[in-house]
């Protein structure tokens, strides 16, 4: 592939919107006539009312639908369905799909300027990325508050703040919100923002699908959150039948919320996977793709292929509630194990949906701060794809204790242990990169190191748990709870923080305050471990999950864990304060390439132009040649630079 580096004869505006066929514009109309978050909220509310009225109108007289509770499931479901439709109509997601029915073209509009663009349906991947940042932080904040409520309740084994029903509702909502947030926490904000920049593309393959993924994700959040107003759901985040079938209307919010967020996950994964496959810059062969992009590709593949099963599982559950099928009802020819199988067929790949991007982030950060190439690049890439593939063959280990044919246990024990091999590849690649390096302990690097520490504990306990005897012994205990918090929170969330501190200067143009960042890191790292490590012991001593009363002799450990959890919560407040302080109160302009990275994303101008690169870069070498003085730059911008300058060579100021 040859792309001329010569500048075109016409003048370059860089950020001018393209001209195209004009049509009816909705998003740029002033005030109440335009489509934005406000109209979406209004139409969502009206849709909710309409759906409720409609459901009561068509099914209000059917005693067997209203059931003993008198709650009309049809009305509950239609209310949520039309709420989501109203939300999408209000934000403008359906404008173009409807116009297409008449063969009309997309209306090319001048992109909205200023803050208002973050409240609209936009086709700029960078704006969508920032929308996701705010969205997932809101998710996390809500889930975090619920976690504080859980730990408050567990301060005392007998004196209670909540009744048992409320407690399990809080636990369920916390788990569901956090798990759904976690599936998108990196792919959404960082994947959408950074992937085109890192592969040298000017755009996403399907920007409308990308924007749709965010707004449907937001709708899913509202649906899941609405369960709290319908009495919650008592099943935990796993939603097991037959309890699922016995639960009240909050269960519909759970099932429909999963289906809605599932649509968002499919859309996000679909768009990103297609973009990576097709829009890589010339010269970016598969052996030159940044490791973060590899991780996002593996994750996007899982999102696209595993999530439809979650969607189906949710659909079946909704049908059981709304039209009284019996897919999960044993007594009527269904099976509660059907849900378990479908749920975990998605649920276990989901674990890697959460883990892989985290490893992608640290694989990107470590070479920058050690000034060394990524150790065994190809092994890391193979590990990413190996984990993605194997993750489809391990789901039944979640059923060791709940229904699996005992003869099948060894097989799934084996597949589960097998997956630790490619996971080990990825981990050892990190260790190899750190080996004998002179590290710059900046905040992103600290968070990356913390990930390796935490994941070691989470990973090793995971290997124990894959063995049937241990699994049977500690099933449903705090040991399991601690294990998955170490992998998800200790791995993913620390990686997310590493990514935010590392890339926010690029995304916002401002540096995060280092002093506050250090406070945030150390408090988060220390109190994370003080919160969750005792839970291994608590679990081994026999305390079950999701139960608010426990043995008196465990109060000391529980109190220690709770107080540490409050401090952990406070560490997040430090982060939010740092965010506000660094972005609004005392913004410090970020240098063009503050970490001296060779990554393509740092070679564009700041702020990033609408079309990312003035010239499409040509990739000429491997991405991590930090330790080779005089090595050619990663990309050739044809001499024209990309806004802020041409690609850095490795002989940077940080080179030691």
């Amino acid at each position: 592939m040859t792309i001329s580096a010569e500048r075109p004869t016409e003048t370059a505006a860089g950020t001018t919107a393209p001209t195209g066929p004009r049509g009816v514009s909705w998003t740029n109309r002033p005030g109440w006539m335009s489509q934005h978050l406000g109209t979406a909220l209004v139409l969502a509310f009206l849709g909710y009312l309409l759906g409720h009225w409609w459901g009561n109108h068509i099914a209000g007289n059917y005693a067997y639908i209203n059931g003993a509770s008198g709650q009309n499931s049809v009305a509950d479901f239609l209310a949520l369905l039309l709420m989501v439709v109203g939300w999408l109509v209000g934000i403008g997601a359906l404008n173009y799909p409807i116009a297409k029915l008449f063969g009309r073209e997309a209306v090319e509009e001048e992109p909205a300027k200023g803050l208002s663009r973050y409240f609209r349906y936009t086709l700029d991947h960078k704006v969508v990325g920032m929308q996701y940042v705010v969205g997932v932080l809101l998710f996390m904040f809500t889930g975090g508050l619920l976690a504080m409520a859980i730990r408050t309740e567990l301060l005392n084994p007998t004196v209670h703040i909540f009744n048992p029903g409320t407690y399990i509702e809080i636990v369920s909502e916390h788990g569901t919100i956090m798990m759904m947030m976690a599936t998108s926490i990196i792919v959404g904000p960082l994947g959408n923002y950074l992937v085109p920049l890192m592969i040298g593309s000017r755009r996403m393959a399907f920007p409308r699908i990308e924007a749709f993924s965010f707004w449907i994700f937001s709708a899913g959040y509202m649906v899941i959150f609405s369960a709290l107003f319908f009495g919650g759901f008592p099943t935990g985040w796993t939603g097991y039948a037959p309890l699922q079938n016995q639960a009240g209307p909050g269960m519909i919010s759970y099932l429909f919320g999963f289906a809605v967020i599932g649509m968002g996950m499919i859309a996000a994964g679909f768009n990103i996977a297609v973009t990576i496959v097709n829009y890589r810059a010339p010269g970016m062969t598969w052996s030159r793709v940044p490791m973060f992009v590899w991780s996002i590709l593996a994750t996007a593949s899982l999102l696209t292929l595993a999530t439809p099963v979650l969607f189906s599982a949710g659909l079946f559950g909704i049908l059981d509630h709304v039209v009284l099928t019996s897919l999960y009802v044993n007594e009527h020819g269904g099976s509660s194990y059907l849900w378990e199988n479908l749920f975990w067929f998605f649920g276990h790949p989901e674990v890697y949906i959460m883990a892989l991007p985290g490893f992608g982030i640290v694989a990107e950060i470590v070479p920058v701060f050690t000034r060394k190439p990524l150790f065994a690049y190809k092994v890391a890439a193979a590990g990413m794809m190996g984990v993605a593939l194997l993750s489809f063959f391990v789901w039944q280990h979640h059923l060791f204790q709940s229904g699996i044919n005992p003869d099948m246990r060894p097989l799934f024990m084996l597949t589960t242990e097998l997956i630790s091999i490619p996971t080990g590849f990825i981990y050892l690649v990190g260790m190899g990169s750190l080996y004998k390096s002179k590290m710059r302990l900046e905040i992103p690097m600290l968070f990356s190191l913390a990930l390796y520490f935490n994941f070691l504990i989470g990973g090793i306990t995971g290997v124990f748990l894959s063995d049937v005897p241990v699994n049977v012994t500690v099933h449903g205990s705090f040991f399991v709870l601690s294990h998955f918090h170490y992998t998800i929170m200790g791995g993913l969330l620390f990686a997310f923080m590493a990514g935010l501190y590392y890339w926010l200067p690029k995304m916002t143009g401002y540096m995060m305050n280092k002093k506050l960042g250090l406070w945030h890191f150390w408090t988060m790292f220390i109190f994370f471990n003080l919160t969750f490590f005792p839970m291994f012991i608590i679990g081994l001593l026999g305390q079950p999950r999701r139960v608010f009363e426990y043995a008196h002799n465990l109060q000391g450990l529980n109190d220690f864990s709770s107080i540490s959890a409050f401090c952990l919560g406070a560490s997040f407040l430090l982060f939010f304060w740092n965010l506000m302080y660094s972005m609004i109160i005392n913004p410090q302009k970020a240098p063009a390439n503050p970490w001296d990275s060779l990554g393509l994303e740092w070679q564009t101008a700041n702020p990033v132009p609408l079309y990312n690169f003035e010239r499409i870069p040509v990739i000429v070498t491997e991405p991590y040649r930090y330790s080779e003085p005089g090595a050619p730059a990663y990309a050739d911008f044809g001499g024209g630079g990309s806004g802020s300058g041409s690609s850095s060579s490795v002989s940077s100021s940080v080179e030691e």
Binding site: G103, A205, F206, A273, V274, G334, N341
Partner: protein, 218 residues
């Protein structure tokens, strides 16, 4: 399912860059079409899993009440409509590749009409079902299949309809009424879209046969 292709979004793109982005765009349509088939496959696979899982479990001996069967006439009508729609979509694509835009449009509109008929029958079938949705495992999975099939028919018909509707507006770019292939980017992009669509319709045809055999043949 994509926009009509427009030259590079960047206002100052060089001709080489435009060509590069165009090839990426065509590749995206190809990849996206196949990935859409992957998404649908996993969705239908979960339904097939439910069918065989409940059938083999036969909990409470209620996989299927003796004699319980979905209305066969409806099943045949929907299947024939779907197969014809898929066939016409693929035929239209083959004609479009040879430059016969009119043939594509006629085949496309007929396919859309058949899709709408299939949709009406599929929805109406729920009204005339001779069994209660929760009466057995079979009845439950059948209702789930109907809902999933409605989504598939809507999606396939929508894709076909939007392609035909666009072809009417793009008559000039597609080469008018002459049987010739336009090499304009917009025309090549449109043909790539129709190509992906015809693959998807072919897939829908195969799925329709498979699930017809599962649900309508005792």
């Amino acid at each position: 399912m994509t926009d009509t292709y427009k030259d590079s979004l960047a206002p100052n793109a060089t001709p080489e860059e435009r060509e590069f982005e165009f090839r990426s765009h065509i590749g995206s349509i190809w990849t996206g079409g196949r990935l859409a088939i992957g998404v649908a496959t996993f969705m239908y696979a979960s339904l097939a899993f439910a069918y065989f899982y409940l059938r083999s479990s036969n909990n409470s001996h209620l996989w299927r009440i003796p004699g319980q069967l979905a209305p066969l006439y409806y099943g045949w009508t929907i299947l024939i409509c779907m197969l014809l729609m898929a066939g016409l979509g693929m035929y239209g694509h083959s004609r479009l590749r040879k430059g016969f835009t009119n043939d594509f449009q006629v085949a496309g509109w007929t396919g859309v009409a058949l899709g709408v008929i299939a949709l009406i029958f599929q929805v109406w079938e729920l009204v005339v079902l001779p069994f209660y949705p929760g009466s057995s495992g079979y009845a439950s999975t059948f209702v789930a299949f109907v809902v999933m099939n409605i989504m598939t028919i809507v999606f396939a018909t929508y894709w076909l309809e939007t392609a035909v509707a666009r072809s009417l507006r793009m008559r000039k770019e597609l080469g008018g009424t002459k049987p010739e292939l336009s090499s304009a980017h917009t025309a090549r992009s449109f043909r790539a879209n129709v190509s992906s669509m015809s693959y998807y319709l072919g897939y829908v045809g195969i799925i329709s046969i498979g699930f017809f055999l599962m649900f309508y043949v005792q």
